[in-house]
Amino acid sequence: MGDKATLIVESGDFDKIYSAFIIGNGALSMGMDVSMYFTFWGLERLKKDNLDKGPLSKMNFLGLGKLFMKWKMKKANVRSLENMLQDYVELGGKIFACDMTMEIMGIEKEDLRDEVITEYCAVGTYIKEARESEMTLYI
């Protein structure tokens, strides 16, 4: 067993993307290796200029709930998602993009933020890494 965390990010919801990056960055900060697999709605968030565009998973109220949440987060000085992603990459976190999602949803490589993506892959790569991980999460 390696000292590794592997996360599947299936949700594209604003709050869940936050959860994924907070956990990912926390694990990296505590000395673990981290891999995140972005699939389905999660992968949508890796499109250019799309990272913080997801709705709240609950009480979104056509975006009003999210605005309120963003205001509360700003007051609490919570780091932006974009900065969390930059921290994640700086600390050596790996990002994998699911190639089947790309095919189903008609997402091309040039639509995605290629500079932060470590590899385009399928389920086998995830299983290989998850098998070596002490911690796996599905978000």
Binding site: L28, M30, G31, A76, N77, R79, L91
Partner: protein, 74 residues
């Protein structure tokens, strides 16, 4: 010659103090001392956990008036 590196996390929230500590540790040389200051209370407990997990030396954890200061040797 080992250096003293300051990491100011005053006013920062979860997980920033932990992340900034890790970033600074990655850049530091062996023997350097990190002085992390902050006022996010959970981080005061969690930074020492990270130090232990990474097998580094926790020199001290001090509570000041309205902030804490943690010293770590890489």
């Amino acid at each position: 010659m080992s250096e003293e590196i300051k990491v100011n996390c005053l006013g920062e929230n979860c997980p920033v103090p932990l992340v900034e500590t890790r970033k600074a540790l990655r850049k530091a040389e062996k023997g350097d001392v990190l002085v992390v200051t902050g006022d996010h209370s959970a981080s005061k407990k969690e930074i020492p956990m990270a130090v232990e997990a990474m097998d580094l030396e926790l020199i001290s954890v001090e509570e000041k008036d309205d902030y804490w200061e943690i010293r770590i040797r890489k």
